[in-house]
Amino acid sequence: MAEESKPPEPGSQPNTSSEQREQDQARAANPSSLSADAEKDAQVEAAKARVAAAKDQAQKAAAPAPGAPKAPVKKKEEGPKPTDASGHPLVRRLRDKVDGAVIEATEFLGQLSIRIERLHIVKVCDALKRDEDIPFNYLSDLTCVHYPDHREAPFEIVYNLYSIPKNERVRLKVDVNGEGVDSVTSVWPAADWLEREVYDLFGVVFRNHPDLRRILLPPDWEGHPLRKDYPLEFVENRWTEAHLPEFTDVQKEQLEQRRAYGLEILSVPQEREVRELFKGGKEVMPKDK
């Protein structure tokens, strides 16, 4: 900073001005250097013009012609797909032990799934539980999927098995129609409540089950809520008519207010008729009248 603030010494010239002066003198002495600069300028201008022309052309090419169909949207790269696992050692052992039981076997992301013939499910489960190499001694889960478009067998029962000593997993799938499927409670007693849950929510019958009845819903409930033909919304049925309390005028008004504020999520006018609450001779409190 101190150097910058110093005034230039008398008689001294800055370096830049001296260089410029030298260049001017050289140009005056040699006129060809002048033409070289002009050439450079011309080249720069030409290059700029070329870039501008290329940009215009790119924009025209990118803009679709009026009425032209849209370019197809590129699909995302597809992910991994299940592969055939019929050569898997466990599948081969299972084929040897229970003839005709395995329909197909697939492996997806290291997870083995075996589709089993419905009539052989108990034998297959027993064989897997008693397997010498990998004993699947734990029924991790038993669940169901409803495919309403599969007319012959709309339900798929899924058995997730786990081998505690070998830390291995396998998934069994069985296609089931209205006749149901044999219970595997004889192999894993833990299947008892899981099968009751599937029966309750999907209506699949498990033959030879020791105590097949609803587990989550009331015994006189109608329908099976996890089926695709069962609407998710609240629907009045005989059970709710018989068991749910009825509404007073005050409660009805409160309900309307809650609806107006978006707080009421259970009821809409068409779904739930408002009824008198105290049927058994009880009266509404005076302040509510």
């Binding site: 069962y230 609407p231 998710l232």
Partner: protein, 85 residues
């Protein structure tokens, strides 16, 4: 899937009001008033599965769905041959 996609899957016609369906010759069935989009799709599928069964039994010639902002209604064209017999 959205109610429209479900209707397309079951080859059902889509209407935006019950009047449009009735003027097109469709008879209305039950109405569901779901409170969110998932329940709306579920209601649409439930209605269409019932209508599909009706069509397979020969009671309906054509099936449809009335999709309104806060409700879904099933509709179908009765099969005159089945109803007359």
């Amino acid at each position: 899937m959205s109610p429209k996609e479900i209707a397309a899957h079951y080859e059902a016609k889509v209407f935006d009001s019950p009047e449009a369906a009735t003027t097109a010759g469709f008879a209305l069935t039950e109405t569901h008033t779901p409170r969110n989009v998932w329940n709306k799709a579920s209601a649409a599928q439930s209605l269409l599965l019932k209508l599909r069964d009706k069509k397979e039994k020969g009671e309906a010639k054509e099936i449809g769905l009335v999709i309104e902002p806060w409700s879904v209604t099933g509709c179908y064209v009765p099969n005159e041959v089945a109803t007359n017999s």
